[in-house]
Protein backbone atom coordinates (compact mmCIF):
# COMPACT_ATOMS: atom_id res chain seq x y z
CA UNK A 1 0.00 0.00 0.00
CA UNK A 2 1.29 3.42 -0.95
CA UNK A 3 1.38 6.11 1.67
CA UNK A 4 1.35 9.79 0.81
CA UNK A 5 3.91 10.22 3.58
CA UNK A 6 6.45 8.43 1.36
CA UNK A 7 6.30 11.49 -0.88
CA UNK A 8 7.81 14.51 0.87
CA UNK A 9 6.41 17.05 -1.59
CA UNK A 10 2.85 16.09 -0.76
CA UNK A 11 3.12 17.66 2.66
CA UNK A 12 3.79 21.13 1.29
CA UNK A 13 1.23 23.86 1.00
CA UNK A 14 0.31 25.86 -2.08
CA UNK A 15 -1.25 29.29 -1.76
CA UNK A 16 -1.79 28.56 1.90
CA UNK A 17 -3.68 25.32 1.22
CA UNK A 18 -2.50 21.74 1.43
CA UNK A 19 -1.31 20.61 -2.00
CA UNK A 20 -3.59 18.20 -3.79
CA UNK A 21 -1.59 17.01 -6.75
CA UNK A 22 -3.79 15.85 -9.61
CA UNK A 23 -1.49 16.36 -12.58
CA UNK A 24 -0.03 12.88 -12.59
CA UNK A 25 -0.51 12.27 -16.29
CA UNK A 26 1.99 15.11 -16.81
CA UNK A 27 4.43 13.85 -14.21
CA UNK A 28 4.23 11.99 -10.93
CA UNK A 29 5.82 12.91 -7.60
CA UNK A 30 8.83 11.02 -6.29
CA UNK A 31 9.00 8.91 -3.16
CA UNK A 32 11.79 9.64 -0.68
CA UNK A 33 13.56 6.40 -1.68
CA UNK A 34 14.05 7.74 -5.21
CA UNK A 35 15.38 11.08 -3.97
CA UNK A 36 17.67 9.26 -1.52
CA UNK A 37 19.02 6.89 -4.17
CA UNK A 38 19.97 9.79 -6.42
CA UNK A 39 21.49 11.74 -3.54
CA UNK A 40 23.46 8.70 -2.44
CA UNK A 41 24.82 8.23 -5.92
CA UNK A 42 26.09 11.81 -6.15
CA UNK A 43 27.31 11.75 -2.57
CA UNK A 44 29.11 8.40 -2.71
CA UNK A 45 29.50 6.83 -6.11
CA UNK A 46 29.57 9.50 -8.81
CA UNK A 47 31.78 8.40 -11.72
CA UNK A 48 31.46 7.75 -15.41
CA UNK A 49 30.21 4.35 -16.52
CA UNK A 50 31.73 1.62 -18.68
CA UNK A 51 35.09 3.38 -18.82
CA UNK A 52 37.37 2.87 -15.87
CA UNK A 53 38.44 0.15 -13.46
CA UNK A 54 38.33 2.17 -10.24
CA UNK A 55 35.84 1.43 -7.50
CA UNK A 56 33.53 4.37 -8.09
CA UNK A 57 33.32 3.62 -11.81
CA UNK A 58 32.36 0.07 -10.93
CA UNK A 59 29.61 1.21 -8.58
CA UNK A 60 28.24 3.70 -11.11
CA UNK A 61 28.27 1.10 -13.89
CA UNK A 62 26.57 -1.49 -11.70
CA UNK A 63 23.93 1.05 -10.65
CA UNK A 64 23.24 2.09 -14.23
CA UNK A 65 23.05 -1.46 -15.54
CA UNK A 66 20.92 -2.57 -12.59
CA UNK A 67 18.25 -0.19 -13.86
CA UNK A 68 18.28 -1.90 -17.24
CA UNK A 69 18.17 -5.36 -15.64
CA UNK A 70 15.26 -4.39 -13.43
CA UNK A 71 13.29 -2.87 -16.31
CA UNK A 72 14.01 -5.76 -18.64
CA UNK A 73 12.55 -8.09 -16.10
CA UNK A 74 9.57 -5.78 -15.34
CA UNK A 75 8.64 -5.52 -19.02
CA UNK A 76 9.97 -8.99 -19.92
CA UNK A 77 11.93 -7.39 -22.77
CA UNK A 78 14.54 -8.83 -25.14
CA UNK A 79 16.33 -5.53 -25.53
CA UNK A 80 16.00 -2.33 -23.58
CA UNK A 81 17.63 0.95 -24.58
CA UNK A 82 17.69 3.71 -22.00
CA UNK A 83 16.58 7.01 -23.51
CA UNK A 84 15.67 10.45 -22.18
CA UNK A 85 11.99 9.51 -22.17
CA UNK A 86 9.11 8.42 -24.36
CA UNK A 87 9.76 11.17 -26.87
CA UNK A 88 13.35 10.16 -27.44
CA UNK A 89 12.37 6.49 -27.52
CA UNK A 90 9.93 7.17 -30.36
CA UNK A 91 12.50 9.29 -32.16
CA UNK A 92 14.94 6.42 -31.78
CA UNK A 93 12.53 4.14 -33.62
CA UNK A 94 12.06 6.78 -36.32
CA UNK A 95 15.80 7.28 -36.82
CA UNK A 96 17.24 3.92 -35.83
CA UNK A 97 14.62 1.64 -37.37
CA UNK A 98 12.54 3.84 -39.67
CA UNK A 99 15.38 5.28 -41.71
CA UNK A 100 16.96 1.87 -42.16
CA UNK A 101 13.77 0.08 -43.12
CA UNK A 102 11.30 2.47 -44.70
CA UNK A 103 11.40 3.87 -48.19
CA UNK A 104 9.26 5.95 -50.49
CA UNK A 105 5.83 4.41 -50.89
CA UNK A 106 5.82 2.61 -47.54
CA UNK A 107 3.12 3.57 -45.08
CA UNK A 108 2.98 4.19 -41.33
CA UNK A 109 -0.33 3.91 -39.51
CA UNK A 110 -0.93 6.39 -36.67
CA UNK A 111 -4.06 7.38 -34.82
CA UNK A 112 -5.78 10.66 -34.06
CA UNK A 113 -5.38 9.81 -30.39
CA UNK A 114 -1.59 10.18 -30.40
CA UNK A 115 0.43 12.57 -28.30
CA UNK A 116 2.45 14.99 -30.44
CA UNK A 117 5.52 12.91 -29.52
CA UNK A 118 4.09 10.07 -31.58
CA UNK A 119 3.10 12.27 -34.52
CA UNK A 120 5.85 14.79 -35.17
CA UNK A 121 8.76 12.30 -35.54
CA UNK A 122 6.72 10.48 -38.18
CA UNK A 123 5.83 13.68 -39.99
CA UNK A 124 9.54 14.50 -40.10
CA UNK A 125 10.40 11.04 -41.42
CA UNK A 126 7.56 11.25 -43.91
CA UNK A 127 8.92 14.51 -45.27
CA UNK A 128 12.42 13.13 -45.49
CA UNK A 129 11.60 9.73 -46.95
CA UNK A 130 8.30 10.15 -48.76
CA UNK A 131 6.66 7.70 -46.38
CA UNK A 132 2.86 7.87 -46.30
CA UNK A 133 1.12 8.55 -42.97
CA UNK A 134 -2.35 7.13 -42.37
CA UNK A 135 -4.35 8.32 -39.38
CA UNK A 136 -6.95 6.08 -37.76
CA UNK A 137 -9.91 8.26 -36.71
CA UNK A 138 -11.38 8.45 -33.22
CA UNK A 139 -15.11 7.68 -33.04
CA UNK A 140 -17.90 9.46 -31.16
CA UNK A 141 -17.51 7.06 -28.25
CA UNK A 142 -13.84 8.10 -28.00
CA UNK A 143 -12.45 4.79 -29.18
CA UNK A 144 -10.40 4.06 -32.29
CA UNK A 145 -12.23 3.24 -35.48
CA UNK A 146 -11.05 -0.37 -35.74
CA UNK A 147 -12.58 -0.87 -39.17
CA UNK A 148 -10.60 2.06 -40.48
CA UNK A 149 -7.56 0.62 -38.74
CA UNK A 150 -7.90 -2.68 -40.56
CA UNK A 151 -8.44 -0.92 -43.85
CA UNK A 152 -5.28 1.11 -43.32
CA UNK A 153 -3.02 -1.91 -42.91
CA UNK A 154 -2.27 -3.03 -46.49
CA UNK A 155 1.15 -1.67 -47.41
CA UNK A 156 1.87 -0.44 -43.88
CA UNK A 157 5.28 -1.31 -42.43
CA UNK A 158 4.77 0.22 -39.00
CA UNK A 159 1.81 0.91 -36.71
CA UNK A 160 2.22 3.51 -33.96
CA UNK A 161 -0.46 3.57 -31.29
CA UNK A 162 -0.86 5.11 -27.90
CA UNK A 163 -1.47 2.36 -25.32
CA UNK A 164 -3.53 4.67 -23.09
CA UNK A 165 -4.61 8.18 -24.03
CA UNK A 166 -3.22 10.98 -21.88
CA UNK A 167 -6.36 13.06 -22.48
CA UNK A 168 -9.16 10.49 -22.24
CA UNK A 169 -7.60 7.70 -20.21
CA UNK A 170 -8.94 5.36 -22.89
CA UNK A 171 -6.90 2.17 -23.09
CA UNK A 172 -6.77 0.98 -26.69
CA UNK A 173 -7.30 -2.64 -27.80
CA UNK A 174 -3.56 -3.03 -28.31
CA UNK A 175 -3.60 -6.85 -28.33
CA UNK A 176 -5.94 -6.86 -31.31
CA UNK A 177 -3.98 -4.08 -33.00
CA UNK A 178 -0.71 -6.01 -32.62
CA UNK A 179 -2.22 -9.22 -33.89
CA UNK A 180 -3.73 -7.61 -36.98
CA UNK A 181 -0.66 -5.50 -37.71
CA UNK A 182 1.61 -8.52 -37.50
CA UNK A 183 -0.70 -10.56 -39.67
CA UNK A 184 -0.32 -7.91 -42.33
CA UNK A 185 3.47 -7.69 -41.91
CA UNK A 186 3.74 -4.42 -39.99
CA UNK A 187 5.77 -3.85 -36.85
CA UNK A 188 4.09 -2.13 -33.88
CA UNK A 189 5.27 0.69 -31.65
CA UNK A 190 3.25 1.31 -28.51
CA UNK A 191 3.48 4.66 -26.75
CA UNK A 192 3.12 3.45 -23.17
CA UNK A 193 3.92 6.73 -21.42
CA UNK A 194 0.48 6.55 -19.76
CA UNK A 195 -0.06 2.80 -19.90
CA UNK A 196 3.10 1.66 -18.14
CA UNK A 197 2.45 3.54 -14.87
CA UNK A 198 -0.99 2.00 -14.45
CA UNK A 199 -0.61 -1.59 -15.50
CA UNK A 200 2.07 -4.22 -15.75
CA UNK A 201 2.98 -4.61 -19.44
CA UNK A 202 4.68 -7.81 -20.63
CA UNK A 203 6.11 -7.01 -24.07
CA UNK A 204 6.95 -10.63 -24.88
CA UNK A 205 3.51 -11.84 -23.98
CA UNK A 206 1.98 -8.96 -25.92
CA UNK A 207 4.44 -9.56 -28.76
CA UNK A 208 5.01 -5.84 -29.24
CA UNK A 209 8.03 -4.78 -31.30
CA UNK A 210 8.72 -1.43 -29.67
CA UNK A 211 7.45 0.00 -26.39
CA UNK A 212 8.22 3.57 -25.31
CA UNK A 213 8.11 4.60 -21.64
CA UNK A 214 8.97 7.63 -19.44
CA UNK A 215 10.27 7.13 -15.90
CA UNK A 216 8.87 10.38 -14.57
CA UNK A 217 5.28 9.27 -15.06
CA UNK A 218 5.85 6.22 -12.85
CA UNK A 219 7.53 7.72 -9.75
CA UNK A 220 10.98 7.92 -11.36
CA UNK A 221 13.09 10.97 -12.21
CA UNK A 222 12.70 13.19 -15.26
CA UNK A 223 15.20 12.86 -18.08
CA UNK A 224 15.07 9.09 -18.43
CA UNK A 225 12.87 6.56 -20.16
CA UNK A 226 13.30 3.49 -22.27
CA UNK A 227 12.55 1.73 -25.49
CA UNK A 228 12.04 -2.01 -25.40
CA UNK A 229 12.83 -3.74 -28.68
CA UNK A 230 12.09 -7.26 -29.87
CA UNK A 231 15.25 -9.17 -30.81
CA UNK A 232 14.55 -9.40 -34.54
CA UNK A 233 13.60 -5.73 -34.75
CA UNK A 234 16.76 -4.86 -32.82
CA UNK A 235 18.79 -6.59 -35.54
CA UNK A 236 17.17 -4.27 -38.11
CA UNK A 237 18.18 -1.08 -36.31
CA UNK A 238 21.15 1.14 -37.14
CA UNK A 239 22.67 3.62 -34.70
CA UNK A 240 21.83 7.26 -35.34
CA UNK A 241 23.70 9.12 -32.65
CA UNK A 242 27.44 8.68 -32.77
CA UNK A 243 29.93 9.19 -29.97
CA UNK A 244 31.54 7.55 -27.00
CA UNK A 245 30.09 4.47 -25.29
CA UNK A 246 28.40 3.24 -28.46
CA UNK A 247 31.52 2.20 -30.38
CA UNK A 248 33.56 -0.96 -30.59
CA UNK A 249 36.63 0.45 -32.40
CA UNK A 250 37.33 3.83 -33.87
CA UNK A 251 40.03 4.51 -36.42
CA UNK A 252 40.39 7.50 -38.68
CA UNK A 253 39.09 5.33 -41.50
CA UNK A 254 35.89 4.50 -39.71
CA UNK A 255 34.30 2.86 -36.70
CA UNK A 256 32.60 -0.31 -35.66
CA UNK A 257 29.80 -0.28 -33.13
CA UNK A 258 28.87 -2.17 -30.01
CA UNK A 259 26.51 -5.04 -30.57
CA UNK A 260 24.27 -4.54 -27.56
CA UNK A 261 21.98 -1.73 -26.39
CA UNK A 262 24.97 0.54 -25.82
CA UNK A 263 25.01 1.02 -29.57
CA UNK A 264 22.06 3.37 -29.05
CA UNK A 265 23.30 5.10 -25.92
CA UNK A 266 26.00 7.40 -27.26
CA UNK A 267 27.83 9.61 -24.79
CA UNK A 268 27.79 9.65 -21.00
CA UNK A 269 24.34 8.38 -20.07
CA UNK A 270 21.89 9.47 -17.35
CA UNK A 271 23.48 7.62 -14.50
CA UNK A 272 21.82 9.25 -11.48
CA UNK A 273 18.46 9.10 -13.24
CA UNK A 274 18.89 5.39 -13.97
CA UNK A 275 19.70 4.77 -10.31
CA UNK A 276 16.66 6.82 -9.29
CA UNK A 277 14.44 4.93 -11.70
CA UNK A 278 15.65 1.59 -10.34
CA UNK A 279 14.66 2.77 -6.86
CA UNK A 280 11.23 3.73 -8.22
CA UNK A 281 10.84 0.29 -9.79
CA UNK A 282 11.76 -1.34 -6.47
CA UNK A 283 9.07 0.80 -4.84
CA UNK A 284 6.51 -0.15 -7.51
CA UNK A 285 7.37 -3.84 -7.04
CA UNK A 286 5.84 -3.51 -3.56
CA UNK A 287 2.57 -2.15 -4.93
CA UNK A 288 -0.27 -4.29 -6.20
CA UNK A 289 -0.91 -2.32 -9.38
CA UNK A 290 -4.08 -4.20 -10.17
CA UNK A 291 -5.65 -3.37 -6.83
CA UNK A 292 -4.51 0.23 -7.18
CA UNK A 293 -5.87 0.40 -10.70
CA UNK A 294 -9.35 -0.48 -9.49
CA UNK A 295 -9.15 1.91 -6.58
CA UNK A 296 -8.06 4.80 -8.80
CA UNK A 297 -10.54 3.98 -11.53
CA UNK A 298 -13.29 4.08 -8.92
CA UNK A 299 -12.14 7.51 -7.84
CA UNK A 300 -12.10 8.65 -11.47
CA UNK A 301 -15.59 7.27 -12.09
CA UNK A 302 -16.94 8.95 -9.01
CA UNK A 303 -15.28 12.24 -9.97
CA UNK A 304 -16.60 12.08 -13.54
CA UNK A 305 -20.12 11.50 -12.25
CA UNK A 306 -19.88 14.30 -9.71
CA UNK A 307 -18.54 16.71 -12.31
CA UNK A 308 -21.40 15.86 -14.65
CA UNK A 309 -23.66 16.67 -11.74
CA UNK A 310 -22.10 20.14 -11.66
CA UNK A 311 -22.90 20.61 -15.33
CA UNK A 312 -19.52 19.65 -16.74
CA UNK A 313 -18.97 17.69 -19.91
CA UNK A 314 -16.58 14.81 -19.25
CA UNK A 315 -14.42 13.46 -22.07
CA UNK A 316 -13.69 9.80 -21.48
CA UNK A 317 -15.55 6.61 -20.70
CA UNK A 318 -13.69 5.05 -17.75
CA UNK A 319 -13.95 1.46 -18.88
CA UNK A 320 -12.39 -1.27 -16.77
CA UNK A 321 -8.90 -0.98 -18.29
CA UNK A 322 -8.86 2.81 -18.72
CA UNK A 323 -6.60 4.97 -16.60
CA UNK A 324 -7.77 7.32 -13.87
CA UNK A 325 -7.86 10.48 -15.94
CA UNK A 326 -10.82 12.87 -15.94
CA UNK A 327 -10.87 15.49 -18.68
CA UNK A 328 -13.71 17.98 -18.47
CA UNK A 329 -15.10 21.38 -19.39
CA UNK A 330 -17.83 23.60 -17.98
CA UNK A 331 -19.92 25.77 -20.30
CA UNK A 332 -19.70 28.88 -18.12
CA UNK A 333 -16.06 28.95 -17.13
CA UNK A 334 -13.05 28.66 -19.40
CA UNK A 335 -10.65 25.79 -18.69
CA UNK A 336 -7.77 28.13 -17.99
CA UNK A 337 -9.79 30.22 -15.52
CA UNK A 338 -10.90 27.04 -13.79
CA UNK A 339 -7.33 25.80 -13.40
CA UNK A 340 -6.16 29.11 -11.93
CA UNK A 341 -9.04 29.18 -9.47
CA UNK A 342 -8.43 25.58 -8.44
CA UNK A 343 -4.74 26.29 -7.99
CA UNK A 344 -5.66 29.13 -5.66
CA UNK A 345 -7.22 26.43 -3.47
CA UNK A 346 -4.27 24.06 -3.64
CA UNK A 347 -5.45 21.79 -6.45
CA UNK A 348 -2.92 21.14 -9.21
CA UNK A 349 -4.75 20.19 -12.40
CA UNK A 350 -3.73 20.57 -16.00
CA UNK A 351 -5.35 22.60 -18.75
CA UNK A 352 -4.69 22.98 -22.43
CA UNK A 353 -4.50 20.71 -25.43
CA UNK A 354 -2.31 18.15 -23.60
CA UNK A 355 -0.04 17.85 -26.65
CA UNK A 356 -2.80 16.04 -28.48
CA UNK A 357 -4.22 18.69 -30.80
CA UNK A 358 -5.51 16.28 -33.48
CA UNK A 359 -7.57 14.47 -30.82
CA UNK A 360 -9.00 17.69 -29.40
CA UNK A 361 -9.76 18.86 -32.90
CA UNK A 362 -11.72 15.66 -33.46
CA UNK A 363 -13.61 16.26 -30.21
CA UNK A 364 -14.36 19.79 -31.41
CA UNK A 365 -12.65 21.54 -28.51
CA UNK A 366 -9.38 23.36 -28.01
CA UNK A 367 -8.62 22.49 -24.40
CA UNK A 368 -9.82 20.59 -21.37
CA UNK A 369 -9.21 20.67 -17.65
CA UNK A 370 -7.64 17.37 -16.65
CA UNK A 371 -7.44 15.76 -13.24
CA UNK A 372 -5.27 12.65 -13.28
CA UNK A 373 -4.91 10.37 -10.27
CA UNK A 374 -2.03 8.21 -9.14
CA UNK A 375 -1.06 5.88 -6.34
CA UNK A 376 -0.94 8.45 -3.51
CA UNK A 377 -4.27 10.10 -4.35
CA UNK A 378 -7.37 9.42 -2.29
CA UNK A 379 -11.12 9.60 -2.57
CA UNK A 380 -11.07 12.46 -0.06
CA UNK A 381 -8.94 14.46 -2.47
CA UNK A 382 -11.40 13.83 -5.28
CA UNK A 383 -14.22 14.95 -3.01
CA UNK A 384 -12.21 18.04 -2.17
CA UNK A 385 -11.74 18.79 -5.84
CA UNK A 386 -15.43 18.52 -6.58
CA UNK A 387 -16.29 20.69 -3.60
CA UNK A 388 -13.72 23.31 -4.61
CA UNK A 389 -15.02 23.29 -8.15
CA UNK A 390 -18.56 23.72 -6.88
CA UNK A 391 -17.46 26.84 -4.99
CA UNK A 392 -15.62 28.16 -8.03
CA UNK A 393 -18.66 27.71 -10.25
CA UNK A 394 -20.93 29.34 -7.72
CA UNK A 395 -18.72 32.35 -7.42
CA UNK A 396 -17.31 32.71 -10.92
CA UNK A 397 -19.49 30.65 -13.22
CA UNK A 398 -22.27 33.24 -13.46
CA UNK A 399 -22.12 34.36 -17.05
CA UNK A 400 -21.14 32.18 -19.94
Amino acid sequence: MVSASDFPILSRTVNGKRLVYLDNAATTQKPQVVIDAMNRYYTNSNANVHRAVHTLAGEATDGYEACRTSLKSWFNADRLVLTSGTTEAINLVAHGWGRANLKQGDAIVLTEMEHHSDIVPWQMLSKERGVELRYVPVLEDMTLDMEAFEASLPGAKLVCVVHTSNVLGVRNPVERIIEQAHASGARVLLDAAQGAPHTRIDVTDMDVDFLAVSAHKMLGPTGIGCLTVKEDAFAEMAPFMGGGDMIDQVTVEGSTYQENEHKFEAGTPRIAEAIGWKAAMDYLEQVDLEVEHHRLLNIARWTAEALRGLGCTVYGRHDDLDSAVVSFLHPSLHAEDMAHLLDAQGFAVRTGHHCAQPLLHRLGISSTVRASFYLYNTMEEAEGLVEALGHVLERFGGSA
Binding site: G16, H334, A335, E336, A344, S367
Partner: protein, 138 residues
Protein backbone atom coordinates in the same frame (compact mmCIF):
# COMPACT_ATOMS: atom_id res chain seq x y z
CA UNK B 1 5.64 57.38 -14.71
CA UNK B 2 2.85 54.84 -15.10
CA UNK B 3 -0.74 55.97 -15.55
CA UNK B 4 -2.74 57.08 -12.54
CA UNK B 5 -5.39 54.47 -13.22
CA UNK B 6 -2.83 51.67 -13.13
CA UNK B 7 -1.25 53.11 -9.98
CA UNK B 8 -4.64 53.12 -8.25
CA UNK B 9 -5.41 49.54 -9.20
CA UNK B 10 -2.03 48.36 -8.01
CA UNK B 11 -2.64 50.01 -4.66
CA UNK B 12 -6.08 48.42 -4.38
CA UNK B 13 -4.64 45.02 -5.22
CA UNK B 14 -2.03 45.40 -2.53
CA UNK B 15 -4.85 45.42 0.05
CA UNK B 16 -6.38 42.17 -1.14
CA UNK B 17 -4.92 39.19 0.65
CA UNK B 18 -7.25 36.41 -0.35
CA UNK B 19 -6.22 34.85 -3.64
CA UNK B 20 -9.77 34.12 -4.76
CA UNK B 21 -10.67 37.76 -4.15
CA UNK B 22 -7.75 38.81 -6.28
CA UNK B 23 -9.08 36.69 -9.09
CA UNK B 24 -12.50 38.26 -8.67
CA UNK B 25 -10.92 41.70 -8.84
CA UNK B 26 -8.88 40.86 -11.96
CA UNK B 27 -11.89 39.24 -13.63
CA UNK B 28 -13.80 42.49 -13.09
CA UNK B 29 -11.05 44.46 -14.82
CA UNK B 30 -12.16 42.78 -18.06
CA UNK B 31 -14.54 45.72 -18.44
CA UNK B 32 -11.65 48.14 -18.65
CA UNK B 33 -10.51 47.07 -22.08
CA UNK B 34 -12.43 48.07 -25.20
CA UNK B 35 -13.90 44.95 -26.70
CA UNK B 36 -12.38 43.63 -29.89
CA UNK B 37 -15.37 41.79 -31.39
CA UNK B 38 -14.86 38.22 -32.52
CA UNK B 39 -15.37 39.30 -36.16
CA UNK B 40 -12.21 41.38 -35.84
CA UNK B 41 -10.10 38.47 -34.54
CA UNK B 42 -7.45 37.85 -37.15
CA UNK B 43 -4.29 35.82 -37.29
CA UNK B 44 -2.36 39.06 -37.19
CA UNK B 45 -3.81 40.24 -33.89
CA UNK B 46 -3.79 36.78 -32.30
CA UNK B 47 -1.71 36.45 -29.15
CA UNK B 48 0.50 33.53 -30.02
CA UNK B 49 1.40 30.95 -27.41
CA UNK B 50 -1.76 31.62 -25.48
CA UNK B 51 -3.61 28.51 -24.26
CA UNK B 52 -6.90 30.24 -24.80
CA UNK B 53 -8.01 32.42 -27.68
CA UNK B 54 -6.76 35.95 -27.22
CA UNK B 55 -6.58 38.84 -29.65
CA UNK B 56 -5.18 42.31 -29.18
CA UNK B 57 -5.29 45.30 -31.46
CA UNK B 58 -2.74 47.99 -30.81
CA UNK B 59 -2.81 51.38 -32.52
CA UNK B 60 -0.96 54.61 -32.09
CA UNK B 61 -3.03 57.69 -32.89
CA UNK B 62 -1.29 61.06 -32.71
CA UNK B 63 1.10 59.71 -30.16
CA UNK B 64 -1.71 58.17 -28.06
CA UNK B 65 -1.98 54.40 -27.57
CA UNK B 66 -5.26 52.64 -28.39
CA UNK B 67 -5.94 49.08 -27.28
CA UNK B 68 -8.81 46.74 -28.05
CA UNK B 69 -8.81 43.17 -26.87
CA UNK B 70 -10.84 39.99 -26.66
CA UNK B 71 -10.22 36.63 -25.05
CA UNK B 72 -12.25 33.59 -24.16
CA UNK B 73 -10.65 33.13 -20.74
CA UNK B 74 -11.83 35.76 -18.28
CA UNK B 75 -8.50 35.93 -16.52
CA UNK B 76 -6.81 36.85 -19.80
CA UNK B 77 -9.50 39.45 -20.49
CA UNK B 78 -9.02 40.85 -17.00
CA UNK B 79 -5.30 41.12 -17.53
CA UNK B 80 -6.01 42.87 -20.82
CA UNK B 81 -8.02 45.30 -18.71
CA UNK B 82 -4.99 45.86 -16.53
CA UNK B 83 -2.90 46.51 -19.64
CA UNK B 84 -5.55 48.93 -20.89
CA UNK B 85 -5.50 50.84 -17.60
CA UNK B 86 -1.77 51.29 -18.00
CA UNK B 87 -1.74 52.03 -21.69
CA UNK B 88 -5.02 52.84 -23.39
CA UNK B 89 -5.51 56.52 -24.10
CA UNK B 90 -2.05 57.23 -22.74
CA UNK B 91 0.84 58.96 -24.45
CA UNK B 92 3.57 56.62 -25.56
CA UNK B 93 6.00 57.37 -22.73
CA UNK B 94 3.40 56.62 -20.06
CA UNK B 95 2.34 53.41 -21.80
CA UNK B 96 5.92 52.32 -22.12
CA UNK B 97 6.55 52.88 -18.44
CA UNK B 98 4.41 49.83 -17.70
CA UNK B 99 6.48 46.67 -17.26
CA UNK B 100 5.82 43.01 -16.72
CA UNK B 101 6.42 43.62 -13.03
CA UNK B 102 3.18 45.59 -12.88
CA UNK B 103 1.34 42.51 -14.12
CA UNK B 104 3.16 40.48 -11.49
CA UNK B 105 1.68 42.76 -8.88
CA UNK B 106 -1.73 41.48 -9.78
CA UNK B 107 -0.46 38.42 -7.91
CA UNK B 108 -2.52 35.82 -9.73
CA UNK B 109 0.02 34.32 -12.07
CA UNK B 110 2.60 31.87 -10.84
CA UNK B 111 4.95 32.45 -13.69
CA UNK B 112 5.59 35.12 -16.27
CA UNK B 113 8.44 33.45 -18.08
CA UNK B 114 8.34 33.76 -21.87
CA UNK B 115 7.50 30.11 -22.38
CA UNK B 116 4.68 29.94 -19.86
CA UNK B 117 1.72 28.99 -21.94
CA UNK B 118 -0.85 31.39 -20.51
CA UNK B 119 0.61 33.88 -22.92
CA UNK B 120 0.22 36.93 -20.71
CA UNK B 121 3.90 37.56 -21.06
CA UNK B 122 3.52 37.15 -24.82
CA UNK B 123 0.64 39.61 -24.77
CA UNK B 124 2.78 42.14 -23.00
CA UNK B 125 5.77 41.59 -25.28
CA UNK B 126 3.48 41.90 -28.28
CA UNK B 127 2.28 45.33 -27.20
CA UNK B 128 5.70 46.64 -26.32
CA UNK B 129 7.26 45.48 -29.57
CA UNK B 130 4.41 46.95 -31.63
CA UNK B 131 4.71 50.25 -29.76
CA UNK B 132 8.44 50.22 -30.22
CA UNK B 133 8.10 49.61 -33.96
CA UNK B 134 5.43 52.30 -34.34
CA UNK B 135 7.51 54.74 -32.41
CA UNK B 136 10.44 54.23 -34.70
CA UNK B 137 8.19 54.26 -37.75
CA UNK B 138 6.92 57.75 -36.96
Amino acid sequence: MISEALQEVIEELADIEDRMERFEFIFDLAEEVLDLPVEAWTDENRVKGCQSQAHLEIRLDNGVVHLRGGADARLVQGLMGLLALGMHGQPLDVAQAMTVDHIKEAGVLNSLTPSRSNGVRTMFDMITSVLEAMNHGE
